[in-house]
């Protein structure tokens, strides 16, 4: 294992690398545009006016800060750690995705781009992007795997109502990876006027760092809120990971607090002993895809293998490069939860706390159900409830045998 740095929060380097991970593995056509984007983002980041506008939108439009809610009944039921839920599912559009999208669409406007494209898995990022584009009056095209179009129908309808065009992608397994391929293909042809709004902490530099920065509002709020509620920092943080943006947003502000144990939960699908899972850190190895080097599910030659998860948002064979680095540095623990465990967690939260969680977030909760009982009662645990489950209602109703 590489030796620990003085800080875990200084990455990436100027070439976009987190250790060996990250980078800019893109077609030459895009390279100059990515350099432009990096420059524009750095300028915006340092511009108080940009930051002020973003802050205003986050509070007055998206509804931030989201509450940090003490889940008393869940805590009592599990009988261990004191569990807080970071209620990012209460944001406008129903997930943490809006935090990043408002930042990127503001940046698109600032750069004079006249069209926005996005990829989406569960549709949460697609809905958030369609929303921001409606607000800023920018045409929006969302690429979505045709399998996901089917299993996340409510979000498809929402995107269309918001004025976005949804392009179903039928290549490969027709899920998030394929949607990202097609978004990149569109971008190569349209890069002069089009802004690609990536939904997670992946893709070529500067996306992993930029999306992380926009999502860090989650962890920064938690720091403040837990100090108000408990007078000290939390002991344990848990979040689900597909690409890893909600997790990075919660984790990053705490990386340099050695007393805070940090756990990311990947999707184990039908089990890590099957080939049907999406746990790239547990079951993959480093490779290059979608503009960055990171852990990927792949065969011996380097052909990318299909991921599987009940949750469309976690159904991706890669992960953000900074997570790969944090795994190698040993700063963050990465575990997994299966489809069945997530479904059980989903039902538990509905009935105990009256909160219908997204299937993605249910993976985080599934691990909390295992972990919390092993921890002392004074252990402060924060779970990022990154999305709400409205979009999963038809799929879950069918799975649970309900007629609707």
């Amino acid at each position: 294992m590489p030796s620990a740095p003085n800080s875990f929060r200084t990455g990436p380097d100027e070439r976009g690398h987190f250790g060996i991970f990250g980078g800019r593995y893109v077609a030459e056509t895009l390279m100059p545009l990515i350099l432009d984007l990096e420059k524009a983002y750095n300028e915006a980041k340092a511009d108080p006016q940009f930051q002020g506008e973003l802050k205003y939108l986050l509070s007055q439009y998206a509804g931030r800060p989201s509450p940090l809610y003490y889940a008393k009944r869940l805590t009592e039921k599990l009988g261990g750690a004191k569990i807080y839920l970071k209620r990012d599912e209460l944001n406008h559009t129903g997930s943490h995705k809006i935090n990043n999208v408002l930042g990127q669409v503001l940046l698109a406007k600032r750069m004079g781009k006249t069209r926005v494209i996005a990829e989406t898995g569960a549709g949460q990022h697609g809905v958030a992007t369609a929303t921001a584009c409606a607000l800023f009056d920018i045409p929006c095209v969302v690429f979505m795997g045709s399998v996901d179009v089917e299993r996340q129908a409510p979000n498809v309808a929402r995107m269309k109502m918001l004025g976005a065009e949804v392009r179903p992608v039928t290549a490969g397994a027709s899920t998030l990876k394929d949607a990202m391929n097609d978004a990149l293909r569109d971008w190569v042809a349209t890069c002069e006027n089009t802004f690609y709004c990536i939904g997670t902490v992946a893709g070529p530099h500067p996306y992993p760092a930029m999306v992380r920065d926009f999502q860090c509002v989650i962890g920064e709020e938690v720091r403040k809120q837990i100090m108000e509620a408990e007078g000290r920092l939390p002991d344990t943080l848990v979040a689900c990971i597909g690409g890893g943006s909600n997790a990075m947003g919660l984790f990053h502000p705490f990386l340099d607090d050695p007393g805070v144990r940090i756990v990311g939960v990947e999707a184990a699908g039908r089990g890590l002993d099957t080939e049907e899972h999406a746990a790239s850190l547990t079951g993959g190895r480093p490779g290059v895809l979608h503009g960055n080097r990171t852990y990927l599910l792949q065969d011996g030659d380097g052909q990318i293998t299909e991921a599987h998860s009940i949750s469309a948002g976690l159904d991706y064979p890669g992960i953000g490069p900074e997570h790969s680095w944090l795994k190698e540095m040993g700063r963050v623990e990465y575990v997994s939860a299966t489809d069945d465990e997530a479904v059980e967690a989903f039902q538990l939260l509905c009935k105990l706390e009256g909160i219908i969680p997204a299937l993605e977030s249910s993976h985080g909760l599934a691990h909390v159900m295992r972990l919390a009982p092993t921890l002392p009662k004074d252990n402060l645990l924060v779970l990022n409830l990154s999305g709400r489950g409205d979009k999963d209602v038809p799929q879950m109703a069918e799975r649970l045998g309900m007629k609707i």
Binding site: R24, A27, L30, L289, Q303, I304
Partner: protein, 277 residues
């Protein structure tokens, strides 16, 4: 001199541009794909690009995406791609036609760039064209390619301006590949005027030959490119002829291979009809 340098020197002496033909290794299966590879020089190809099929070809349009899927489904691997090249050199005795591997970096990264370069060179490969390895990341491959005597053909695009060109050219050897349109393979075509302007611009920065690709489908388009560039690269349109030779079960019909060669011959006639100074 590398095989690629020699070939361009010969083309210059012959006062003509070259034809670079792309096929996907293993499309529609190893056997037919090898038959096509073996016959490319006789059909009129001056240089050969052999595509390494990849599950996620982000810079390719539907034709080459599907070709890759056919090849992978038929069991194509990196080792079998090397085998095709080795067999070509041995069976045809063709020691003059350069073969470049084209594709995506992950396949090289997984084997390790050093080992990959050694194995490729030993099989008779002459260089690489890698879509997702811009100069910013090219240090990972360049020293090993050089050590094995392999050329690295870097891509330039209409978005690669005069300020950036030198950074790209620093890593380029063999020739420079100008991607003539903004977009993925096999979709749009550039105008002759645009090709001329960009080739002239690139040549102000380098003495390397310039090949132009993306969107060339007809002998007339190939000839138009040949008037300004040192080589015309054709990929998607060849793949479309492979596909046209498949029956509805995806099996090769007898006319597939001759059909591909007839098409390449027409392209070569177009390119060779242009006399250069």
């Amino acid at each position: 001199m590398s095989r690629i340098q020699k070939r361009f020197a010969q083309l210059k002496a012959d006062k003509r541009a070259g034809l670079v033909t792309y096929i996907t290794a293993g499309d529609p299966d190893t056997d037919i794909s090898y038959q096509i590879l073996k016959g490319l020089p006789a059909a009129g190809a001056d240089l050969i690009e052999l595509g390494m099929p990849f599950t996620d070809p982000m810079a390719d349009g539907p034709s080459i995406q599907l070709a890759g899927q056919r090849a992978l489904k038929a069991g194509m691997t990196v080792d079998k791609t090397f085998d095709m090249v080795r067999r070509f050199r041995k069976e045809t005795g063709d020691n003059g036609t350069p073969i470049l591997l084209m594709g995506y970096f992950n396949l090289i990264y997984q084997r390790g760039p050093e080992r990959f370069c050694k194995e490729a060179a030993a099989a008779g490969v002459d260089g690489f064209i890698l879509v997702d390895l811009p100069p910013e990341e090219a240090d990972e491959l360049k020293p090993f390619a050089t050590a094995s005597g392999l050329d690295t053909v870097l891509l330039t695009a209409p978005t690669t301006d005069d300020v950036r060109l030198p950074a790209v050219l620093k890593y380029a050897s063999g020739f420079v590949y100008f991607v003539s349109v903004l977009g993925i393979t096999g979709t749009k075509s550039a105008t002759e005027d645009a090709v001329r302007t960009h080739v002239e611009r690139i040549k102000r920065h380098t003495t390397l030959p310039v090949g132009v690709g993306f969107g060339i489908r007809t002998p007339e388009q190939a000839a138009a490119v040949a008037r300004h560039a040192d080589a015309a690269v054709v990929g998607t349109a060849i793949i479309d002829h492979v596909k046209a030779g498949l029956d509805d079960k995806g099996k090769a019909k007898p006319e597939l291979v001759p059909g591909v060669f007839a098409y390449i011959k027409a392209l070569a006639d177009g390119v060779r009809g242009v006399r250069k100074a």
